[in-house]
Amino acid sequence: MLDYITSYLSSNVTPGQAGNFFWATVYVMVVFGGVSVVVMAMNWLERKALAHFQIRLGPMRVGPHGLLQPIADAIKLATKEDIIPAEADKLVFWVAPLIILCASFTVYIVVPFGPTHAITDLNIGILFMLGVSSLSVLGIVMAGWASNSHYPLMGGLRSSAQMISYEVAMGLAVISAILMTSLNSTGIGTLSMIGIVQAQQQAHVWYAFKFFPLGLIALIIFSIAMVAETNRAPFDLPEAESELTAGFHTEYSGLRWSLFMLGEYAAMGAVSSIAVTLWLGGWLRPFPNWLSGSFFDLVFSLFPAFTFLALAGFCFYGVTRMPKHPYFRLETIGLAGFGAVLGLIGLILLITPVRTRVQDIYWFLAKVAVFLYLYIWYRATFPRYRFDQLMAVGWKVLLPASLVVLMATAIVGVVI
């Protein structure tokens, strides 16, 4: 038994490939737990960042600077009355949020956080991701239909049309990146998520900068399509608050509603990680060619620790700015404690064996975080597209553009 567990540690493949059930289970739990925590953190961060875009403070009451707000929300949602409308199709109504949740969590199976840090490495990884993530449209249509109400129905219809039409442009953009993986001596490409990053490592270039500007255009097309794919502003028509009150989840409440939100945020992370894997070098650190050598390797490996130490410093700065009133004593202690935990993590990350193992995950997550921040930024900046305009952008702009990029990539690849 113990041998079974320890035997994996010497291998250098993912637990899924090694066929090791124990470590695969551990990885599944770590990844899914991590995704749930990131979703909660993202929820807090979105409200906070959006508030600061809009000259507000955002959550401030629950915990220092509202840090415990997601937990308070979770408790509120879990204890809320769970209403199923009398006229609703009960079974479909019940299944719809689960489908969305499963679809957006399952894709994390193949997300490569590092060369061995993935649950498994499918040889059709990217295809699996696109396929499973587009299953969530089924959940949205089912939710809209099962509610037996006009607004959710329209939200569901909008959503299905939108997700299907943007998937075409998204898929073509992805193919142009996959074509680039075949530009090696063997001439055989790969669909494996880890393989794609390794191909970028061997080519010494992130695909966003390959055949400049073709890769970059493909990345931009993908990053527009992925916003539409996850139903976020400015493409948030299925849940357009000012038009359809809440779109397909109008009739949902309590825990079921929170499953939709969990699924939506998890899907945002999933599509962001596709973009990072395909174009931004996945777990590879920035400037591998320009700033190479052991000195820069050391500097870049210190980044995770420094990030956590900086966050800890930020917390301690917040402690000094807290009002000196007995009422705020508990919050001040809490913030200091949070800072201490972050600082401790930072210090642990300074230790050499931890440092070298964690930096892959760090760079991957840092790149994903940039995309997640962009989502918030879009939401604060853009008005919402109208339905016909959304379709026009998808079919008349993104689709031809991605076709052109695909063909140009193929031609350039053959010629060079």
């Binding site: 959006l50 875009f53 809009q54 000259i55 507000r56 006009h150 607004y151 329209m154 909008r158 502003a233 400015p234 948030d236 028509l237 357009a240 608050e241 000012s242 038009e243 359809l244 009150t245 939401r379 604060a380 900046t381 853009f382 008005p383 919402r384 597209y385 109208r386 339905f387 016909d388 305009q389």
Partner: protein, 384 residues
């Protein structure tokens, strides 16, 4: 185009189309509880998919019988009630009412009172337009301008609060002039505001006017011609955006507006974007008027000689002013007693709302929201 003044009910469903699939038209009910109907407006939409075939407005959810109340109140007692009609432009409502009663009494407010009235009314126009801009942008999906406009509207409300103690339902004016002399530093506050707000208006325009999505969402949406506007009695920025240069401040000057130099901004196309541009330009013109008024504010009394008990001679009078949303008229019939025999209000929102159906027929659901926002209705005024 059918004659817009004839009433067509759109709410009979057509025959189901069996040719391809079993499709049918859909009637959905927007409001009275809906995030984007600006209060309690209920719009019944007949839809073919996302396309709007017709609309019908159901109003009256905020009816408080303001006109009937007037018949049981003295002229002075009714004055605060008018603030509750268009509650985002309460000062304009009060100005209209006071001027109408003054016309009935045949008195005129002294020059200083008229200048202060102009300053406060134009500040209120700015506040009303700012609130409109924020909510309109929110309806179209841009959340952020709402908070910016509320931040700047706050400065106006602070001036109101300092002047008369109230922020929203101000009751700032009295029949015959003003109750209160301006507070110390009033002119300084207004001048500070005049310096503070132009860059903010530029900021709003920067956020929206050149935003591609904003332009696509507003250009060509909710088009209405000037002739149709006139036929329906539509006034205010909606009329001016359709190319009709009609502003009561210029056409029939009241409260000393003839002394100020300002332009009437107009646009040609009569779509949502033009209405947005007209209001943005109007905000700048209001600033011009306020600057002239605050620079030339005369000294003197603030109250004309008005008897303690207001008992106008028997007769009737109609007087209208240019409220932020359009022509606000009061028709008062006096029977010689201390209470009006009848008060009839001509609210701009109510009349402008009639144009909704004409503007959205054939458009999409999202356009209905944009058009409700662009007409700039306040349900307190529609229902009274």
């Amino acid at each position: 185009m059918t004659d817009p003044t004839t009433y067509i009910s759109h709410l009979e469903l057509g025959e189901p189309d069996k040719t391809y699939l079993d499709t049918n038209e859909l009637i959905i009910n927007m409001g009275p509880q809906h995030p984007a109907t600006h209060g309690v407006l209920r719009v019944i939409l007949k839809l073919d998919g996302e396309k709007v075939l017709g609309t019908e407005c159901v109003i009256g959810y905020l009816h408080r019988g303001v006109e009937k109340i007037a018949e049981n109140r003295t002229y002075a007692m009714f004055n605060p009630y008018v603030d509750r009609m268009d509650y985002v432009a309460a000062v304009s409502n009060g100005l209209g009412y006071c001027e109408t009663v003054e016309k009935l009494l045949n008195v005129e407010a002294p020059p200083r009172a008229r200048y202060i009235r102009v300053i406060l009314t134009e500040l209120n126009r700015l506040a009303s337009h700012m609130l409109w801009l924020g909510t309109h942008a929110l309806d179209i999906g841009a959340m952020t301008p709402l908070f910016y406009t509320f931040r700047d509207r706050e400065e106006i409300l602070k001036i109101f609060e300092k002047y008369c103690g109230a922020r929203l339902t101000t009751h700032a004016f009295r029949i015959g002039g003003l109750q209160y002399e301006t507070y110390e530093g009033f002119e300084k506050d207004v001048k500070n505001f005049l310096d503070f707000v132009p860059p903010k208006i530029d900021e709003y325009e920067e956020l929206l006017s050149t935003n591609r999505i904003w332009v696509e969402r507003t250009v060509g949406v909710g088009k209405i011609t000037g002739a149709n506007c006139i036929a329906l009695g539509v006034t205010g920025p909606v009329l001016r955006a359709s190319g009709v240069k009609w502003d009561i401040r210029k056409a029939m000057p009241y409260s000393g507006y003839e002394q100020f130099d300002f332009d009437i901004p107009t646009c040609e196309n009569g779509d949502t974007f033009d209405r947005y541009m007209v209001r943005m330009k109007e905000m700048r013109q209001s600033l011009r008027i306020i600057r002239q008024a605050v620079d030339g504010i005369p000294s003197g009394p603030i109250m004309a000689k008005v008897p303690k008990v207001i008992k106008p001679p028997a007769g009737e009078v109609y007087h209208s002013i240019e409220a932020p949303k359009g022509e606000l008229g009061y028709f008062i019939v006096s029977d010689g007693s201390t209470q009006p025999y009848r008060v009839r209000v001509r609210p701009p929102s109510f009349v402008n709302l009639q144009a909704l159906d004409l503007m959205v027929r054939g458009a999409l659901v999202a356009d209905v929201i944009a058009v409700i926002g662009t007409i700039d209705i306040v349900l307190g005024e529609v229902d009274r």
